[in-house]
Symmetry: C2
Subunit: 312 residues, 2 copies
DNA sequence: CGCATTATTTTGTCCTGGACAAACGTGTGG
DNA sequence: CCACACGTTTGTCCAGGACAAAATAATGCG
């Protein structure tokens, strides 16, 4: 990552510095140091001036740990493990069925930086398979492939960003094309503060739009007060929120209760995303949508409960 | 920023923690602490447990300092200043002529999160003014307005991200629309490692494309070896790089010399961006483009030096 | 037995103060 | 006008201690 530019950050082949590890893995410097103190891992080398130098294998291992933590695992168990079959854990948590070689095509294109062909390929698959199948099957498979690639160091951060951006653009333009204002239900989509993953939200938005809902997206990280305000102002039927697995469960619960209380009773509150999937007990007045496939049925339910002419 | 969600990060009105300041200003925790030690500013309050609590005015001041540093100023001078007329310095460095109220419309739209109208507005201005005027006048004015807004705390980070993304999409689709492969010169655009600002590059790309050049963008943060490889593979006439003001001058110089040496002699090397604007002395075999307006003339020069039929 | 509340562990962030390398500005000589 | 050497400025890193927030386990209640 930092080689091939002999002047700066001289890290020939032995390893990289702590700042680079933070950049590559997303683990903070303090965290890296205290793991070393507490668990004995990682155990970086030291350069001439006593600064930590992390060998590539350790960085890779850290990436794996981070990935598992993003899936809800806790570091203590992971780091005490003799660095053995963590791959098995990945399979457990990530619902990786293994038959994901269908998404392998993305990697070489990304690595070759064939941006235009990549965009074209995505557009073509979207057109061929249809929006729903694209969102429910293709994109999750790609996400998994990219996630795995990042974990092994095969994919670099900015390549992941590039991928995310391209997919988001596809979804946005597709959604935009079939945007139908004025229909029901009117759905307000957004994400809570400190939750910045936009892709999941866009996927839901496109599914909703594909099923005839009128969507308004507030983007990410909207304060609760703003959500309530916007919902009131636009006479929203449903507020839909997305949580990534990294989002702390209790915070989500508290925020949802608070939001539910502040929202008009007629406004439904739907939540989804990996953060709520496994652990979620029910919260009164909040509808949890576990899988993308359940979006369309949920809309059907809504329509059943709200006969066309009964409004106003 | 962190209020309106009474449960988390309880910071009523007195101030915010050091992590939040890092997030808001982009200044590292270590930097904040050592400034306090060395220069006596900032001087945060302490909460019940001795942790730093930064009052809003200090955060705002820090934002201003950071902004000036991004324009090339050094902290020592800024922080010793009795926190007085730093605004004057902004005017000096940023070429802010003051008549920027033409860009004020962006702020309310951004704050209202009117995403679709905002996209439409940008698209309309692009169509009305033409790509060149849009890139040379409108976008820089908007950038300045957003930068100022961020500095004063008027604009939040994710709103800035949103803006950047929207403009980038406009530029990308506009450039894509008039892409003409096979014409000359063939230009390879990218950014060096550790330089991630993509907007400037996109602006240049669109200008080049508008003037008939065939552009290939490698995205941001390409290692030198990859640039050389791609240039060779695609038979590139010109390699164009962009540097933000924050990029260390010497690093840029060294990298450029190295790149110039590795590139075929027939391949020109063009550089631009605020990072090279003021201070740049000439480097042999590298063409510095100070202002966006100079892109078109540079292309004209190239055509003059390379008569249409002389190739191969 | 489900759900909420409290105790206990786990885990990340913050603190202080010291130290040095990289970046910068300046001055001198070619 | 440009290259190199020198002192200064400035950011990042280190160590070890400490506590708050999060997660888990244990407990009580309907």
């Amino acid at each position: 990552m930092d080689n091939s530019q002999p002047v700066a950050t001289d890290s020939p082949v032995l390893g990289i510095g702590i700042a680079a590890v933070e950049r590559d893995t997303g683990l903070g410097k303090d965290t890296l140091r205290i793991w070393e103190r507490r668990y004995g891992f990682p155990q970086p080398l030291r350069d001439a001036f006593g600064e930590r130098v992390y060998p590539p294998e350790q960085v890779e291992h850290l990436r794996l740990v981070k990935r598992l933590m993003d899936q809800g695992q806790r570091p203590g168990a992971l780091l005490r493990q003799p660095m053995a079959d963590l791959g098995a854990l990945v399979a457990d948590g990530g619902a990786t069925v293994g038959a994901d070689d269908t998404a392998d095509w993305i990697v070489p294109m990304l690595k070759a930086r064939d941006i235009d062909p990549l965009r074209a390929e995505l557009a073509q698959r979207l057109a061929r398979d249809g929006l729903e199948r694209f969102v429910i099957e293709t994109v999750p498979a790609l996400n998994r492939r990219i996630g795995d690639g990042w974990m092994t160091g095969e994919i670099e951060i900015f390549e992941e960003h590039l991928y995310t951006e391209l997919v988001q653009n596809q979804l946005r333009s597709a959604t935009h094309a079939l945007a139908s204002r004025g229909t029901r239900p009117q759905v307000l989509l957004t994400t809570l503060k400190e939750e910045e993953h936009l892709l999941g939200l866009l996927m839901v938005e496109s599914l909703l739009a594909a099923n005839g809902a009128a969507c308004v997206s507030l983007g990410a990280q909207t304060p609760i007060a703003d959500i309530v305000g916007a919902a009131r102002a636009t006479n929203t039927d449903i507020v839909a929120l997305s949580f990534s697995a990294a989002y702390p469960w209790r915070k989500a619960r508290d925020a949802l209760i608070q939001l539910r209380a502040a929202l008009p009773v007629a406004t439904e509150l739907w939540v989804g995303g990996a953060g709520l999937a496994g652990r979620g007990r029910k919260i009164a007045g909040v509808r949890a949508i576990g899988v993308l496939r359940d979006v369309a049925p949920a809309l059907t339910d809504w329509h059943a409960a709200h006969p066309p002419r009964a409004r106003h």
